[in-house]
Amino acid sequence: MTNTQVLRAAASRKRRKPGLVRAVLALVPVLVLVTVAVFAPAIAPFDPERSVDAARLAPSVSHWFGTDAVGMDVFSRTVYGTRIAVRFAIVVALIATIGGILIGVFIGLSESSRGPLGLLGRLLNQISNYIIAVPDIILGIVIVGIMGASDLTLTIAITLCLIQAPIKLTRVEVLRVRGESYLEAAEMAGEPALRSALVHVVPNSLGPAMRNLPLIFGNCVIILASLGFIGVGLPMPTPEWGYMISSGVSALMLGQWWPAVFPAIFVLLSVLAVAFTARALPKTWPVLADRFSKIIPNRRNSLA
């Protein structure tokens, strides 16, 4: 190879690599979070829901984060708190995104038609508009008030708050796709309307809601902690961050900062981690998706 060719090859190699490295780096904060959540039982030295020592002990070698007002190990509780937050966030993000896409597609496809389906579509859209008008915490308070506080009810409450965004995003995208000429061309080619919807509209409308998923993840953590903080979240002794912070404030006022501050730090870190990934992911996702598709062979053939 000539000198120029070698240089050019080296340059192009350098340009391609950072893309993949940067892409993986974007996922690291969230992966750390999820790892801590998954391995909590292995990481935490004590049972997070039982008193294990004297109350209000300062951070030490045996209790890295100290103990709280009833003698529970703050470190173990904080680590398990990660588990709880991540579990909720994943479940809510999945249900809200998938459910939101389905509802958004339905609304987008039906809202302009005249029959009962059109009516249903418009009604759902309007209900969604109203639910958006309710502040998340208020909605959480009311739902927990009526159904009580449990994993299920909190999941329902938070999902109800956060499903509206994917619904709206998908609906708008569906409306955009409906205006595209390939739907008309499909009609010209004799394609049945239902098939058109499933094969053309849905796949092309998924994007915005999928990109929104990390945001739902982050918002779920925030809402869960907020509800726990004001006392309508998961019942004690569940090691949930929000509740830990609020019950730690009285100790804070006496100078014993550790029961409240450590969970607060964890909330801060996880929220920042998710925000970082959410911001970096859209730029690096194409790189990752590209790599993936090269690993999985393309099974597409050219015939219908």
């Binding site: 309007q126 209900i127 109203y130 958006i132 008008a133 309710v134 502040p135 998340d136 915490i137 208020i138 909605l139 308070i141 009311v142 739902i143 927990v144 008030g145 009526i146 159904m147 009580g148 506080a149 009810t153 329902i156 982050g218 925030i222 902690a225 907020s226 903080f229 004001i230 006392g231 309508v232 912070i245 609020s246 404030v249 804070l252 006022m253 100078g255 900062w257 409240a260 501050v261 607060a264 909330v267 801060l268 929220v271 920042l272 998710v274 925000a275 911001r279």
Partner: protein
């Protein structure tokens, strides 16, 4: 006829409001009754009362859950038109009274927090636009990228740690005043303290507001700042700006024109922001021991006070809708392009 055409934009919006509230209330009515779980049974159980047909019926009547859903709806509508949402199971007082007696203090907190964030945005926005120092701009950008990521109460806890525990500059989070009962005239604590000449309380409340308002400012400024920066990019590229530059207007003048126009994109989101502001205010109230609607909400959850929960939801949302309407109207007044229907008439 022309008067109608020219003023239609705000008239229609104002007329729509009661309709929106009504429809929302009805939808909320059904939605909370459709939620699985029986508040009556749960309430009896939590109070360790026996679940007998009599006790169930009695509690149902108290909660307004007796009779068919349609009779409930009719009673609900009837009550709503008279401004009656039933009575609280905890205090016996009318729900509307319970909510309205607390709402202004929460609003005061929200307005102060929003105001502080807006001022911070103006200051940072001004610095950003005026000085082209790269380090300054980059750090402002980074700060704005934290938009809505950190919950207010978390920031407040850190502020408490620093300003109260470690430095002792500010008092403990134990309510708006150290002793005594807040005067009640309008419901807005600061205002009432000033009106009744209670200077000690006024001073104390102002000092105790420092940390919460600071926390709200730190939490909400990034969001507003993002709006400002986005607006700035847009306004600089606008033909208006280019024309100003081309016509040789003074730098300072152009700068202020762009600044002002970019700020309007911040004001636009105030309405959307209101929901998260209320949520934040509720948590802050809880942390600092301030009385407000958050306190009412939590109390109602603990005692499964169904009528209060229902009324609380509807009144708070109605209030949000009003706030959003006000913001919308102000925006539409400031910028005629935002008025619906006006653009079409220009064709």
């Amino acid at each position: 006829m022309n008067w109608w055409r020219g003023n239609r934009w705000w008239l229609v919006r104002i007329l729509r409001l009661p309709l929106d509230v009504f429809v929302f209330a009805t939808i909320a009515f059904f939605l909370i009754r459709l939620l699985p779980g029986d508040p009556v049974v749960v309430s009896l159980a939590s109070r360790n009362e026996p679940v007998t047909p009599e006790s169930v019926a009695a509690l149902e009547a108290q909660m307004g859950l007796d009779g068919s859903i349609w009779s409930q709806l009719l009673r609900f509508w009837g009550g709503m038109f008279q401004g009656d949402f039933g009575a609280s199971l905890v205090s016996g007082a009318p729900v509307t009274q319970e909510v309205f007696s607390r709402l202004p203090s929460t609003v005061e907190l929200i307005l102060l927090g929003l105001g502080a964030a807006f001022v911070a945005t103006i200051v940072l926005g001004f610095l950003y636009t005026r000085f082209s120092n790269r380090a300054l701009r980059k750090s402002i950008q980074v700060y704005s990228s934290f938009a809505t990521t950190v919950p207010v109460f978390v920031i407040a806890v850190f502020a408490l740690l620093l300003l109260y525990v470690k430095l002792g500059w500010l008092p403990a989070p134990l309510g708006r005043v150290s002793s005594g009962v807040l005067p009640v005239v309008t419901g807005f604590p600061l205002l009432d303290e000033a009106i009744t000449g209670n200077w000690r309380m006024l001073g104390e409340t102002l000092v105790r507001y420092i940390m919460p308002v600071l926390a709200m400012m730190l939490a909400y400024t990034p969001n507003l700042l993002t709006q400002y920066l986005g607006g700035l990019d847009r306004e600089i590229a606008q033909t208006t700006t280019r024309f100003q530059v081309a016509s040789g207007a003074k730098r300072g003048w152009i700068f202020f024109s762009v600044f002002r126009r970019s700020l309007s994109s911040v004001v636009v989101v105030f309405g959307l922001f209101f929901g998260s502001l209320i949520g934040g205010a509720v948590t802050i109230e809880n942390l600092f021991g301030f009385g407000g609607i958050g306190q009412l909400g939590v109390r109602s959850v603990e005692s499964i006070d169904f009528p209060t929960l229902q009324g609380f939801l509807i009144i708070v949302v109605a209030f949000c809708l009003i706030a959003m309407l006000v913001v919308d109207l102000v925006n539409m007044w400031l910028d005629p392009r935002r008025r619906p229907g006006v653009a079409a008439e220009g064709n």
